[in-house]
């Protein structure tokens, strides 16, 4: 089965791009399933279901959604195998810009949009820098020049990635992404696979539910801000 990790900042167009890519498969009978990882709630599963895409939802609640992702991806993979899925896509929002669900050898996609500002590529961490494919959306509403500057800045931080411009509303460019999905590596399991990049570490008192402010309550992995 082909697993594809799709990540990107909130509202960058991940759901739209995945939906349009599915539609672009058209008559070819490709069984696609999406697992959406999020913190609190999401309306994405309705969108997917309306399109006839098999969907599961994983809510991490008070846990870091990407840690939750790694802890569960194996189970998801087995579920999809059992369901005879051809392509399993995971959608997750990179909420802190430092995390990344991308796994070595597994096709990884980062979705980022032209509206997010030309400095944004620099600010996004491994989920952009270590992706195989960078999808840039919302090119329909900005000028050619802004698109060029934006793509230029993406290339600076991830020179190896293929850059695809996709319109999440019309689906322009999605057929091309679909083609790359079908060319992704096929695996029987995720045994021995590794993350592309470490997740942000978090092991302090606040991870364990502490709410009080102040040095006395700090414990574990703590880093202090330098103000001078």
């Amino acid at each position: 089965m082909r697993l594809i990790t799709v990540a990107g900042p909130p509202s960058s167009g991940k759901t739209s791009v995945i939906g349009k890519t599915f539609e672009a498969f058209g008559k070819r009978s490709v069984e696609l399933a999406v697992i959406k990882f999020d913190c609190l709630s999401t309306a994405d599963e309705q969108y997917y279901e309306k399109k006839g895409i098999k969907t599961k939802l994983g809510l991490s609640g008070s846990l870091c959604p990407d840690h939750y992702f790694v802890n569960n991806i194996d189970t998801c993979f087995h579920w999809a195998l059992k369901e005879k899925v051809d392509i399993l896509v995971t959608e997750s929002a990179g909420l802190c810009n430092r995390c990344s669900p991308h796994i070595k050898e597994i096709l990884s996609v980062c979705v980022i949009d032209n509206l997010s500002g030309y400095h944004t590529p620099k600010k996004i961490g491994p989920m952009l820098k270590f992706a195989d494919i960078v999808v840039i959306t919302k090119g329909d509403i900005v000028s050619q020049a802004e698109r060029e500057v934006f793509a230029f800045n993406v290339k600076r931080v991830n020179p190896k990635a293929k850059i695809l411009h996709i319109n999440g509303i019309t689906g322009q460019g999605a057929a091309e992404l679909g083609k790359l999905f079908l060319e992704a590596n096929d695996y029987e399991s995720l045994d021995d696979m590794k993350l592309r990049f470490t997740m942000p570490a978090a092991l302090c008192s606040y991870c364990l539910g502490e709410t009080m402010i102040g040095r006395d309550y700090h414990m574990g992995n703590v880093k202090n801000i330098k103000l001078d």
Partner: protein, 319 residues
Amino acid sequence: MQCEKHFIEPYDFLTEMGFELLEKNQSMDRYMALMDDDILEDMGTNKEMLVAGYEAAHLQLVEEPGVRVNSILIKGGFNKDGEKEAIDILLKPGEIVSIVGPTGSGKSRLLGDIEWLARGDTPTGRWIVINGALPDDAQRYCFEEKLISQLSQNMNFVMDANVEEFIEMHAQSRNIQQIDGVIEAVINQANALAGEPFTRETPLTALSGGQSRALMIVDVAFLCKSPIVLIDEIENAGIDRRKALDLLVKTEKIIMIATHDPVLALMANRRLVIKNGGMHQIIESNEAEKKVLKKLEAMDQEMLTIRNALRNGEMIYSE
């Protein structure tokens, strides 16, 4: 070597990436040796990635000035009913072809096929042949931006910058020297298209519809090296369409315009008729049509005069 002039200092590159460096003028290797892996990890990157980025930044600059396109051939695929398209069409630099057809007939799809350099792998099954050869896979991904620029009526400027900063940024990404002269030229030309002048200091987001469109067109003509321009429905936003097209043609670009606007459709020497998703017919514009175009342009001119009069608070009188 030509690239030495555009050499980016490792110091500048790394500080731009957000690193705080103590010493200037060190080599990339030296900086990498000094760099702490933990700090890199904190920043969500690693040495290998940084070095690759640094090299890519150079390549980006050295690879310009782009690709020379002598011809594009669009080889027919299939219409929406799966019937073979009857025609192929060959386009050359300095040429404008308009694409006409009812709503939903597939005009934008055709532009999409060109944008993607289709190889029988889009819903239409068309093939795009550049300079007599099929672009290979690697080229397709890096060609896209270098080959093709796009203009459409939904486009707006969203960058938080003024006109001067914007042009500067675009010119830099294109490794264009003598930026000051370019800024001057772009603004002058855009003002000639739009009527209502703007300046270097005007914020992009304060430009009117017509001014934005004018700036976009001139920017594509002057700063985009891409030899192909795809225009999807750029309607009459109060800019001089004739001048705009002349400007693009002068830069020896291949221009395709999907449009419902009769003036734009007729300005092209050839027009491609799309029906039911297929390329149906190529019509060469003849003398009689050019006469009609003249008439339409005269009507346009009259509209413009009246519009300007109204803008200036004048009364309109019939002859």
